[in-house]
């Protein structure tokens, strides 16, 4: 969790990042420059193929750019010897299709990221149970994903994303597979998590109504940032 002194300090700096696929035939990102600060809630909008998910993959260290640099608290991601460790310690992912492991219970799914943390087994169990309790899933700890509704699965996924106390939450269309009511509840939960934990949240969406809930909306088109609007004053930390 960031300290108050870190308020408004640059957390992620994206410097002229390019990403291409199929030997340059597909240009997914064409020189993106962005700075995201500690505690910000940022929505990335854009139509399909605009490059928003590619950008999220790069910010999440799941992929590497062909050129340009991404820095986390001033350190280039390319200088990290193990990006897996970086992801485990600093990032929490929430996916559109939940991506829970089907053979594991809700509790076990939340325990999975904790394998990389130096906590004892009872400590992990306690933390996982508390997180599920916090997202309203305390009564379904031992349920398998197939026995849960879409909204419940996404709640478990949110609990899992918080497992290692990340400084950044990356959410890729978190309400894309949910009905209106569940989508609203999940967005309330995400905002509440952001407000309470004061971590940075970067959310990819194509829904303007959801994007409006963010402090800042970045709009992408054809692999470039075409608009960067501050919708609310950034008050998460300051």
């Amino acid at each position: 969790m960031p300290s108050p002194s870190a308020a408004n300090a640059p957390l992620l700096e994206i410097d002229d990042v390019r990403r291409e696929f199929d030997d340059g035939q597909v240009l997914a990102l064409r020189g993106v420059n962005l700075t995201i600060h500690e505690g910000e809630y940022v929505a990335i909008m854009g139509s399909s193929g605009s490059g928003k998910s590619t950008l999220l993959s790069l910010l999440g260290a799941l992929d590497t750019p062909n050129s340009g640099e991404i820095r986390y608290r001033g350190q280039s991601l390319s200088s990290y010897p193990d990006l897996g460790q970086f992801r485990a310690k600093h990032l929490g992912f929430i996916f559109q299709s939940f991506l829970l492991l089907p053979t594991l219970t809700a509790l076990e799914n939340v325990l999975v990221p904790m394998f990389e943390m130096p906590w004892s087994r009872p400590e992990r169990q306690r933390r996982a149970a508390e997180l599920l309790e916090a997202v309203g899933m305390g009564h379904r700890l031992n349920h398998m994903p197939e026995k849960l509704s879409g909204g419940e699965r996404q709640r478990v996924a949110i609990a899992r994303s918080l497992a290692n106390e990340p400084s950044i939450l990356l959410a890729d269309e978190p309400t894309g597979n949910l009905d209106t009511q569940n989508a609203a509840q999940i967005m309330d939960l995400l905002r509440s998590v952001h407000h309470q934990r004061k971590n940075t949240m970067i959310l990819v969406t194509h829904d303007p109504a959801i994007a409006k809930t963010a402090d800042r909306i970045i709009t992408m088109r054809d692999g470039q940032v075409v608009e960067d609007t501050q919708t609310h004053p950034h008050t998460a930390i300051s």
Partner: protein, 370 residues
Amino acid sequence: MTLLQLTLKNLSRRRVRTALTIMGIGLGIGAVVALLGLAWGLEASWTDAYKVRKTDLVVRRSGGGLIAQPFPDSASEQVAQIPGVSQVASLLTEVLSIESVPMMVVSGRQWQSFLWENLKIVSGRLPTSADEKVVVLGTLAAEMLEKKPGDKITIEIDEFEVVGIADGGAVVENGAIMISLPLLQGVMQKDKMVNFINVRLDPKSRDPHTVSQVIQQHIPGCRVDIAEEVLSQSDGVKTFKAMNWGTSIIALLVGTFGVMNTMFMSVFERTREIGILLALGWKRSRILRMILLESVTLCFAAGIVGIIAGIALLKILTLMPWMQGRIEPQITIELLSLALGLAIAVGVASGLYPALHCTRINPSLAIRQV
């Protein structure tokens, strides 16, 4: 939750496939247990026979299988003269079809030699002279032939009376027909020929290796082995063991590719899940360990199944007429440890490539897979 618990959950998701894979490699391990149990048992059964006879050295012709080629009995007199030799006993051993039993050891023993000393009469008596046309049956041989003292038995075309049943103290002795040497030489038309000379050394004499070298120098064309090593040095047994190892290795190779196929199918099906684990920050080394642990766990279970199957197979084999009285299979801790060790080695060998494949998965692409 531990990595092992996660592994067991992964293996239990496709129970039928897991069970079939375990059966496949289990049969391979079972073959190893059964074949090596037989090979080791063959060696141990004959070594036991020499032990109960208190034989130190065995003289026979070079080459040949389990039953050596005959040579003139006069060699035994030469051996007896060699310093350090305490007693010698000549033996003509044949494997013959006796009545309903297809293969039975018939042991023609030098009359009044120490080869009769270990026979403890259970019923009846021992022969009274070398010329008395009688035989003594080992306890197992009597059972197989369904004979008792007073019954008649035909060896080749000659008829003999069974005068006694004896416990020889070893399975090979108990499964044999004991007859005086001249009588068997007559039946087999191998007058004054033997195929083994059992030697007892003077306890105060030089070490057995030195004496065996001296015997070898005196009797050209013969080889001399320390009693415990006779079987392991036999060309026939070496071939038998080599065939058993060959069959075992083929069975294990088939099993290895079977497990590798299963592991590959399993990781291909779970590419997305492995991508999720990588996205959540799992180290690639942990993914590698998880897949290897799955493969090793699978093979360890197969090892247990294989051991049970192998022991069951050996028990069935020992009931076969051609096995009785010749081999007592060896089911030792060494054999079981070897079987489990091989199972684990197969697990590592078959899991390594799929595991390495997993470490090269791109999480960004993997989590987009449907």
